[in-house]
Amino acid sequence: MTQFDGKGSQVTVGVPAGRLKPKRVRRNLDLTLWEKLYVFEIIRGMYVTTKHFALNMLGFVLPPRGKKRSVFTVYYPDEKVVLPPAYRGRPVLVMRPDGTERCVACGLCETACPGHAISIVGAERENGERYPLSYVLDMTRCVYCGFCEEVCPKEAIVMSSEYQGLAETDRSRMRYSKEQLLRSEESVKGRIEYIRRIYSKCNY
């Protein structure tokens, strides 16, 4: 299991897969005499927890060299996990360099959305190009399934890795307008590359 710390470097957590040994499972449910005595098995269990306790206390007081601490809790607001591009975060609209959206208001995402979270009102520019007059994403219904991204012919809506600041104390504030959804192409580049790769591989 790998985890990304705040600076983007990769830290391995837990036992590497190669070193994991399958445990022999005893199918016989009857207790042996040793287990029926309870006391020794209880002491064995207490040994495990005490080992964790002692090592973690050591980790707090004398952290091992080169590592910050032995406890892998993420101090969330101060320290953030960097997510891999495969993670589906909040859907965003991709913005062209000139500030307009890529979306052509075809309505495919609106149709594909299982939660009916997207509602688009399309319009036409003077040059005959279609664009969404309003593009409302109801975050109270969005389930981060990624169907909209998958179905979009223009790579206009992608799942970003954003997950912060989505909680609200008021439900009406969770309807995101086009302006709130627009993100520059640069910021979602990783995801776009990823979907190109993965969708071609999976023969979509």
């Binding site: 809790t73 993420v74 009916h116 219904r141 969005c142 389930v143 997950y163 989505l166 909680a167």
Partner: protein, 195 residues
Amino acid sequence: MGSIKGRLGALRRSGQELLDSGEAERLLGGSVLFTKVESVVNWARKYSFFLYPFVTACCGMEFMSVAGPKYDLDRFGAALPRFSPRQADLLMVVGTISHKQAPVLVKVYNQMTEPKWVFAFGVCAVSGGFYDNYATVQGIDTLIPVDVYVPGCPPRPEMVIDGLMKLQEKVAQERWSDWPRGAAPVTDEAKLTEC
């Protein structure tokens, strides 16, 4: 003796009226001491949520993940699940609430002692999510007052912590007059089950 009891009752009623009408707030609100006490109490409340996990669906897994070692909800002082609503402060509605379950949820909310807060965890609790059908309550705020909405299906642990911090900010700004909140607005059980 009876008259004394009656008088005491009248006094208490008038005091309650004073509190309810916000008159007490106006009289006391300006005083420095009162606001100080208020802020101390709010500080205590925001770091001491006893949860009531009303877990009905898959979001429960994510609830376990946020309460577990990696994200550790206990850091915010909110890791003491009390399964008796009398002792809980924060009702965490985790998962889909069907109309069959709505009366139970309302009952649990009404059983909680003041002050109490409600946390809508995941899209199903927030708005019904993609269960846009006859069986599912379209957002628990149609039943009980909700303080924080956390979207996501299920929400990432970070979103839940975000929501909890939003709630802490909200609690820090509360006034005495916000309490008691009283029973849920929907109390008619027939009404709960029919729609």
